[in-house]
């Protein structure tokens, strides 16, 4: 068993890369992931990526914000320290709404930024995890798990035939640990 962990097919053109995905799938070779410098329409469906649960997470972040704002205003201005503002009752719901609205947005934004950092391991002082640096620039990279798919020469051939400009055999998953 070789110690190659990932085979990377680096394409210069998104359509050729999509073709490469089809070729690999037709030969029952499982694809670990695909890295592209720009979003490509329809690629999730082709790779069978599960639907993101980000929207559900965002909803719960938002509702937490709404309730926090309500609790904050209610506890301060209704329970703890009632003030007479313009003769209104202390518990005047319309006055609460702008703050509840703003905190909903704030919590959603913070929650989503936090979840983005967590899922991509982008923390201060930590090098980003990248398999091929040019995937962040001008190359469309298909990564195949070399341990799961044994026939490396066949994978190389399929990638080359589909139009890969370069095929790399990486012994480590990420090149940018250092």
């Amino acid at each position: 068993m070789s110690n190659i962990k990932y085979i990377l097919g680096s394409f210069g053109d998104p359509d050729e890369m999509m073709h490469g995905i089809e070729q690999l799938q037709a030969n029952n070779i499982s694809i670990h992931d695909v890295y592209t410098p720009m979003p490509i329409h329809g690629i999730e469906a082709k790779l069978g990526v599960k639907r993101s649960r980000l929207d559900i997470f965002a909803f719960f972040c938002g509702i937490t914000g709404t309730m926090s704002a309500f609790a904050l205003i209610y506890l301060t201005s209704v329970v703890d320290w009632r003030n007479n503002i313009g003769g209104k009752p202390s518990f005047a719901l319309p006055d609460f709404i702008p703050i509840m609205f703003e905190l909903t947005i704030l919590f959603t934004a913070f929650g989503l930024v936090g979840s983005y950092y967590a899922s991509t391991h982008l923390f201060p002082g930590r090098a980003p995890r990248v398999m091929d640096l040019r995937a962040t620039d001008d190359r469309f990279v298909i990564a195949v798990d070399a341990q799961q798919n044994a026939d490396h020469t066949k994978i190389d051939g399929l990638l080359k035939d589909a139009g890969a400009l370069e095929v790399k055999h990486n012994e480590r998953k990420y090149i940018s640990y250092e």
Binding site: H41, G42, D55, G86, G87, K88, P94, D95, I97, P98
Partner: protein, 404 residues
């Protein structure tokens, strides 16, 4: 990608049930209006209903032109294959404008509408009828200047609406980018004019019914209402056409975009509605609160129904991605939003005209049905004159392959 076998010269045939039903609608409308005018007691209520539906009709059509202009200025690709629907609405605008102007003119002449600022003696200090506030506003609110504004604004909107539809027709015949470039240029001009004049148009047509009261948010509040109701109308037309077997190129992603628009602008409408309400509520000044006092005391059900239909139902039903992509859900929400904005206009107009003597009966429903029939008839007639797709639109390929 890039391969499709749609019939790009397909034309809508306006016949059968759609035509019969729209004519039946018009007949019901005429009957309701005739019934309203048969009894002297009901004149003002009939005029209020006519104003409501005339305004609604014109607003939906002019927002169709606004949609076209927005798409051109944003150089949007996704909508290129559905532009014929807003174009048909834009082409109907001149008819809507004539009807609205006739209603306003007749209302002014018979003192059934706008009598709050248009009655004898209001600006005469020696008259018992003298009203200082109206006198102060009379430089702006007087019949000649009022009618001039109405005619000028509506004529400008109609001009740009028909121009954009005509340019698209030229594009069909000649091809090339000339028409697209011209559409872009005229759209830019139109949007600037539209943005500055629609608030004034709304102040004139609706807010001046209660001329003592004013709100600077009112223009945007009306703009949001007309824009979202126009989007809902477009969604309904497109979904029904698709159900009838036309426009096979419209896929879930186009519906998703329309759903996002309806969802987003319903929330925008609520935002503006609330901004207006909140400031008046908070400041609590009698000259401003009188507006909501009337609505909250005499129109309580309508007041809450308005928020329920226009805010809660789109939020709850359209928030989910899958719901936006299902045509039946989107159709249902669009109809709810359209009914909701009828109620929105109802509680804008009625307290200023018939005050506590409002009703909801044959006149209201009949007039609404009549205008819906008229809208269907005129828009579908306009739609059936041209192929259902602008085949030489430079961004058409993007729209046919639209995928979200």
């Amino acid at each position: 990608m890039g391969t499709h076998n749609y019939n790009l010269t397909e034309q809508f045939e306006f016949a059968g049930k759609a035509k019969t039903l729209s004519i039946v609608g018009i007949v019901i409308g005429i009957a309701a209006i005739a019934y309203g005018f048969s009894d002297h007691e009901l004149h003002e209520r009939t005029f209020a209903n006519l104003l409501l539906m005339g305004y609604y009709f014109a607003c939906v059509c002019m927002s169709g032109a606004f949609f076209l202009a927005v798409q051109f200025v944003a150089q949007a690709g996704w909508s290129a294959s559905i532009l014929r629907v807003p174009q048909a609405m834009a082409k109907t605008l001149p008819i809507a404008v004539v009807i609205l102007l006739a209603i306003i003119g007749a209302g002014l002449y018979t003192h059934n509408l706008y009598h709050h600022w248009n009655a004898p003696g209001l600006t005469d200090p020696n008259s018992s009828n003298y009203d200082k506030l109206i006198d102060g506003k009379s430089a702006f609110l007087n019949v000649p200047f009022f009618m001039t504004r109405q005619v000028v604004f509506l004529a400008i909107y109609s001009f740009f609406a028909t121009l954009l539809a005509k340019l698209s027709n030229n594009e069909d015949l000649e091809g090339g980018l000339n028409s697209y470039r011209k559409s872009f240029k005229y759209s830019c001009i139109f949007l600037v004019i539209y943005g500055f004049t629609t608030p004034i148009f709304a102040f004139d047509t609706v807010m001046s019914l209660e001329a003592h009261w004013f709100s600077t948010m009112f223009g945007w509040y009306n703009f949001a209402a007309m824009w979202v109701s126009s989007l809902a109308t477009m969604a309904i037309i497109i979904i029904l056409l698709r159900k009838a077997g036309y426009m096979p190129w419209v896929n879930n992603s186009h519906l998703h975009n329309l759903g996002q628009f309806i969802f987003g602008f319903s929330i925008f409408w609520t935002y503006v509605w609330f901004a207006q309400f909140m400031l008046i509520y908070y400041a609590n000044m009698p000259e401003e609160t009188v507006y909501f006092y009337k609505r909250f005391e005499y129109y309580k059900i309508w007041f809450f129904l308005n928020l329920f239909l226009n805010f809660l139902s789109p939020v709850l039903l359209l928030m989910d991605r899958d719901n936006k992509r299902q045509e039946n859900v989107l159709l249902f929400v669009s109809i709810v939003v359209l009914c909701g904005h009828w109620i929105d206009y109802y509680q804008m107009i009625m307290p200023g005209t018939v005050e506590q003597h409002n009703g909801f009966g044959f006149i209201e429903i009949g007039t609404a049905v009549g205008f819906v029939g008229l809208f269907t008839f005129t828009v579908l007639t306009a739609l059936s004159k041209k192929p259902l797709i602008a085949k030489n639109h430079p961004l058409l390929e993007e729209s046919l392959n639209h995928h979200l």
